[in-house]
């Protein structure tokens, strides 16, 4: 079959050099995008730069954007990417600088990995032999750890696009691997750090894109949610995010409504005057636009909704179900 490619070319040292080149290569049915690109490199254009090694979706080298979405070139069949009359669009990963063509500077990602203390901490007395741990726990840890750090989720993360400090889906998945490991004895410190760090777990907007693009089914967003849950369950103090969650749930349980006026002070801290003052102009603007139902907040007016008993029952059921599941 003929595979038509339109590849973004760029010399990172010359920012204005970016352009697209088109190639057509004859490939066997079932050829991957990596096979096609290597065919180009070997026989059409020796200057094409891309990373690769294992060609079996395990080394994490070959992530790139194909038709606008981050994928592993060696796991993606060229025939599945065909676009009718249009050539297949191949571009480097997003959210990181380009070195050349499809090769990006992943240091931005490795820096974030270094921020989460990426090694097991265990200061206790060493066991005589191996640690005795439940098989299921090791399976869970191994699943999170089977992330190959390819950077696909980092590339397409919508939070990283606007906030460079966000630690990012892959690094959080790695953090989960340590938090979930019973052999690590710094769980509390880790949870505190993940919760209060600049760009920490509460900045994820749950857009789900990392889950969709992950070639290894790591579900990074779910790991972030699991981390949030652990932060709340462990009663970690100090994180705006955790307090936001508690305030949110508290409000709904109390009145059946989201009390947006109380939500802010409860999240950032009742006595956090500087932060509250900072939010004041925004609050006034919202009030003027009718977006802050302040009346409902005044004790006099604040009545629970009619079906509040039902709402509270839902909360209690959810809680007891979770306890069951834990056992």
């Amino acid at each position: 079959m003929d595979v038509r490619l339109k590849v973004k070319r760029q010399d990172g040292t010359q920012p204005d050099s970016s352009h697209y080149d088109e190639y057509t290569v004859e490939m066997p049915e079932g050829a991957t995008m990596l096979d096609a690109l290597l065919q180009v490199r070997d026989y059409e254009d020796g200057g094409l730069a891309l990373r690769y090694s294992c060609r079996s979706s395990i080394c994490g080298s070959c992530a790139m954007r194909v038709n606008g979405r981050a994928r592993l070139a060696c796991k993606t069949k060229a025939s599945d990417m065909a676009n009718g009359d249009e050539p297949i669009l191949v571009e480097p990963l997003g959210n990181m600088p380009v070195i050349k063509d499809l090769v990006t500077d992943m240091e931005v990602h490795w820096d974030k990995v270094r921020r989460i203390t990426p090694w097991l901490e265990n200061s206790g007395p060493e066991p005589e032999r191996e640690h005795i741990v439940m098989h299921e726990t090791m399976v869970d840890v191994s699943n999170a750890l089977s992330c190959i750090q390819c950077g696909a989720c980092v590339s397409d993360c919508t939070v990283l696009e606007v906030d460079k400090h966000f630690i990012g889906p892959a690094a959080f998945a790695k953090a989960y691997r340590f938090v979930g490991d019973p052999r690590d004895d710094t769980t509390m410190d880790r949870l505190k750090a993940l919760s209060s760090a600049k760009g920490g777990i509460w900045d994820c907007t749950r857009c789900n894109i990392c889950v969709e693009v992950c070639p290894k089914d790591i579900r990074p967003m779910d790991r972030i949610m699991q981390l949030r849950e652990q932060v709340v369950n462990a009663g970690v103090e100090g994180g705006i995010g955790a307090r936001h969650g508690t305030a949110f749930a508290g409000s709904v349980r109390r009145t059946g409504r989201l009390d947006e006026v109380r939500l802010l002070p409860e999240s950032v801290g009742m006595f956090n005057a500087p932060r509250l003052l900072k939010e004041l102009p925004g609050a006034f603007r919202m009030m003027r636009a009718g977006k802050l139902p302040w009346k409902d907040t005044l004790p006099l007016f604040s009545k629970p909704i009619a079906g509040i008993a039902h709402v509270r029952r839902l909360f209690d059921n959810a809680r007891s179900e979770k306890k069951e599941a834990k056992r």
Partner: protein, 562 residues
């Protein structure tokens, strides 16, 4: 010119390299890793099945050692094997404490699965991502210790002065400017050479660089004729289906639906050692009982749950690459070029006969694998002998006097090579991929499972021809940044040299032993051939073959059956 300076330079950041670096650092050396790939991209990460150690109460290191010696068809050095098997449990426990998430038994201990050629289930594993899981953990320790890593630095040659290793020359891919990296000791840990074959189970980066570079600098290569063919690789891509599939109970079937291994290994069936299983498969295929040049790997009877928990990676690979879901259908497999038993000759501390040079992992030959390696023994090799090389190199640098700075002149030869290649753009020369492709197919045809004089003669002629054509190889990319075209030419030059040593060794060895099967000499001949082949590079690039005794301690050669 940039000059970097460290006590110990470790070339390669797979399991062997990183384990060596950690140990050298723990022993007080200033150590740096130099690697053409980011450490996490190293091929060790692709290892699926597991890592061996006699942990079980009924198991013993002696039994592990015996299985290894028998598997090697008695070519392994038995002193090295004893160290290997005895130190294995300690190393596994250490990996566990570093954070490796080994799969567990019911009572929470490290679980072990049966593997080929082993008298006991002694292969520790993490589902079928064993290599990746260990690679991550070992890299975490490198980060924790703050070891310097020069990543995406391609090492082109060793610097040797007055018969001693003084460092290496390397090219940072990002700038393309050659750099002198000065070190009192160099540990080669550059992994395998599978890419001299096409197809192969090995990653594209497994081009035998460290063997070629050391060989070029005067270090001998040992037992290069022994190449392991793994019984279960996918047909076109060569991608591996782990031995764990058979360890968990998978069958091999021929076109008639027979579990043919019963004929070849009546006791062990699919779990005979790899040379035996690969020969059996090839015989079935040659005698017309194959399907599309393959046999079938059938794991359906294990059930979806077990497959999803223990073999999920290969299930996904088979779906991605062959549209076969192993839960419902058997997958077509055939023997594929997999592991180089041969490598840089070292002693049990990783020291090569060239002062200051050490080697560990797949690029080294200690020798514990002899003429056929057991599954799960090679990851163990990287850990045990990586660690030992780290200790030995750290001790060695303490007793070497400091020397003057290396001058820029050291770069001249490599700079010249690059300049000459740069000038070939647009010439009528051949592209490296053409020469590489011909070499790979020739090696599979002529230096495959079954060998014979005629084919080996023609292989030798072909290598010489390809080396001649390589003189006119054509470079297309003349840029500096991330010039992979240049890199692939460096790699190809080395591969041709290494392949030459492999062919010459195979032609000379007139017997059948382990992975080396001569149709014209079908028997093992201990009287004449119970010895290592030692290849040194002559001035003209061809190998000079010498022979060295095998160290025997406890185990006399016996007839080998499974």
């Amino acid at each position: 010119m940039t000059v970097f300076q460290h006590d110990v330079l470790v070339i390669g950041a797979g399991l062997a390299g990183m384990r060596a670096a950690i140990e050298a650092a723990r022993n007080g050396a200033d150590v740096a890793l130099v690697t053409k790939l980011h450490p996490m991209r190293s091929h060790s990460g692709a290892a699926q099945g597991g890592i061996n150690a006699a942990l079980g109460e009924e198991d013993s290191w002696e039994s592990h050692a015996f299985d290894t010696v028998k598997g090697s068809d008695y070519l392994a050095d038995q002193d090295a094997v004893e160290i290997f098997a005895r130190e294995a449990p300690g190393d596994i426990i250490e990996l566990e404490r570093m954070g490796t998430s080994f799969s567990r038994t019911e009572d929470g201990k490290i679980a072990q699965r049966p593997f080929g050629g082993a008298g006991f289930p002694r292969t520790c594993f993490i589902a079928d991502i064993t290599g990746q899981a260990i690679l991550h953990v070992v890299y975490e320790q490198v980060l924790k210790l703050g070891i310097t890593v020069y990543q995406e630095y391609f090492c082109t040659s060793l610097i040797v002065e007055d018969g001693e290793v003084r460092g290496v020359i390397a090219m940072p891919m990002i700038t393309g400017d050659l750099a002198v990296m000065q070190g009192k000791a160099v540990i080669m840990a550059t992994g395998g050479l599978g890419r001299v074959y096409a197809p192969t189970t090995n990653a594209i980066a497994c081009t035998g660089d460290g063997m070629a570079i050391s060989y070029m600098a005067g270090a001998p290569l040992q037992d290069m004729e022994f190449m392991q063919f793994h019984p279960t690789s996918l047909k076109d891509s060569g991608v591996l289906m782990t031995e764990g599939a058979r360890g968990e109970g998978g069958y091999l079937l021929n076109s008639e639906g027979d579990r043919f291994m019963g004929k070849y290994a009546p006791n062990k069936f699919e779990l005979a050692s790899r040379d035996v299983v690969s020969r059996a498969e090839q015989t079935e295929i040659n005698e017309g009982r194959g399907i599309d040049g393959c046999v079938l790997l059938d794991v359906r009877h294990l059930g979806e749950e077990k497959i999803s928990e223990r073999l999920w990676q290969i299930r996904e690979l088979a779906i991605d690459l062959t549209n076969t879901d192993m839960v419902h259908e058997p997958v077509k497999v055939r023997p594929g070029a997999h592991y180089a038993m041969g490598g840089i000759k070292t002693d049990v501390d990783g020291a090569a006969p060239l002062p200051g040079l050490f080697a560990a992992g797949e690029c080294a030959n200690v020798s514990v694998h002899g003429s056929n390696r057991l599954g799960g023994n090679s990851l163990l090799d990287t850990i045990v002998f990586g660690r030992r090389a780290g200790v030995a190199a750290a001790a060695y640098v303490k007793q070497v006097a400091s020397k003057s700075q290396i001058s820029e002149a050291a770069l001249a030869e490599d700079q010249n090579r690059i300049q000459q290649w740069m000038a070939t753009k647009g010439s009528g020369g051949e592209r490296p991929a053409v020469i590489r492709g011909e070499m790979g197919r020739m090696m599979r045809e002529d230096l495959g499972i079954f060998r014979a004089r005629e084919k080996l003669d023609s292989a030798l002629a072909k290598i010489v021809e390809l080396k001649g054509r390589f003189e006119n190889v054509r470079l297309e990319d003349t840029g500096k940044v991330f010039n992979l075209d240049l890199l692939s030419i460096f790699e190809l030059g080395g591969m041709l040299d290494v392949a030459h040593a492999m062919v010459a060794g195979a032609l000379a060895r007139e017997e059948s032993r382990g992975a080396h099967t001569r149709l014209d000499f079908p028997e093992r001949n201990d009287e004449k051939w119970l010895k290592h082949t030692v290849a040194s590079r002559k001035e003209d690039g061809s190998p000079q073959l010498d022979y060295a005794d095998v160290t025997m301690t406890k185990w006399e050669p016996e007839v080998r059956t499974y």
